[in-house]
Symmetry: C2
Subunit: 210 residues, 2 copies
């Protein structure tokens, strides 16, 4: 393995180990010794890549932001409604928060009192929801009288609630929980033109995961 | 001032000071020295009342649970619909999370990774919402096909989301945010018999706060 490739792998292992420690113990309690041993590298190697625990947290947030862009891409697939795209993004976010410790730790760092976030994941998610809700409005998929702000506020609050509650009980991030939320919301949110077409369980359920 | 009365006041001051420290710095960073000086008592007095920081956190949660019972009482006022009672409880919760540092710190301790909650405020709130949603169902105030579980999940997730996001930006706890959420939810949630009667802004808005 080339030297540079090894350095990239070590860096990735450290970010993952840091995410696991932050997720399990919280940012303040997590120790650099524990993180380097978890990653299987020396503490010298850790300090070569990251000057401090705060620098590691910044890197976890950055990696989580990259994961979020994959989970909730800004452009929709052809043939899907804009609103369906938003529904799908919330399902994929819940799934990724269950399975991807880096994304989960990135979101948790958002609420860490001891530290100002470098990349605030909850706010990045809010911005993505807002852009998507605007597209829904532009394409006439929102029911008359429903504002973008109202959609953003309800969807972001509920998904952040699922995320936070899901830390202690994964059932809050189950596909059924997200589906039930959309079943309740879609009838007042979607215009008649799309209401019947948008699937609260996500467009990818029976056709296999994307 | 009698000795016993002074002891009660000191205990209350310590709980409040601890809540302020937990809210500001998080449980792990908060220091007992800082808490006793914030409360204006000696560190000996602190240790007379509380054996450890964990014991102080337990006491903050207990005081927050008492505050929650006032904010969201289990019995409704005569003449109000059950659903209105639930809407009102979410408004009073948001208001109390803005104004009452003990309640806010109690909720935040719920999500503290470094500590298992003694009284889990978010779960106490969930239980209250569930009892109220059951009453709505029993009195026929839920629209046909809407389950108690669906109501609990959406309302708890959104309010916990408002709580968590409100730590960094109080606008998430503004009356307007909660009202907009109910405007979106009520049409699919309420049966025809009560839909027109339930006020998303809370029943106490124009008639003065209760």
């Amino acid at each position: 393995m080339a030297k540079q490739e090894r350095a990239v792998r070590t860096r990735e292992a450290l970010i993952r180990a840091a995410a696991e420690s932050f997720d399990q113990d919280g940012f303040t309690v997590a120790s650099l010794t524990r993180i380097s041993s978890r990653a299987g590298v020396s503490s010298g190697a850790l300090h070569f890549h990251f000057a401090s625990k705060a620098a590691l947290a910044d890197a976890v947030e950055e990696a989580a932001a990259t994961a979020l862009r994959t989970v909730a891409p800004d452009t929709g697939h052809l043939g899907t409604s804009r609103l369906q795209h938003l529904v799908d993004a919330t399902h994929r976010l819940a799934e990724a928060l269950r399975d991807d410790v880096v994304l989960r730790a990135g979101f948790e760092l958002s609420g860490e009192a001891a530290r100002e976030p470098h990349t605030d994941l909850r706010m990045s998610w809010r911005d993505r929801v807002e852009r998507q809700a605007r597209r829904c409005e532009e394409s006439g998929e929102l029911r008359e009288g429903v504002t973008v702000g109202r959609v953003v506020s309800a969807v972001v609050a509920a998904t952040v609630g699922f995320e936070v509650l899901g830390v202690r009980d994964r059932a809050w991030l189950a596909p059924g929980t997200v589906t039930e939320f959309w079943r309740l919301l879609l009838p007042t949110l979607a215009s008649d033109a799309v209401a019947a077409r948008v699937r609260p369980e996500g467009s990818f359920r029976s056709a296999g995961r994307r």
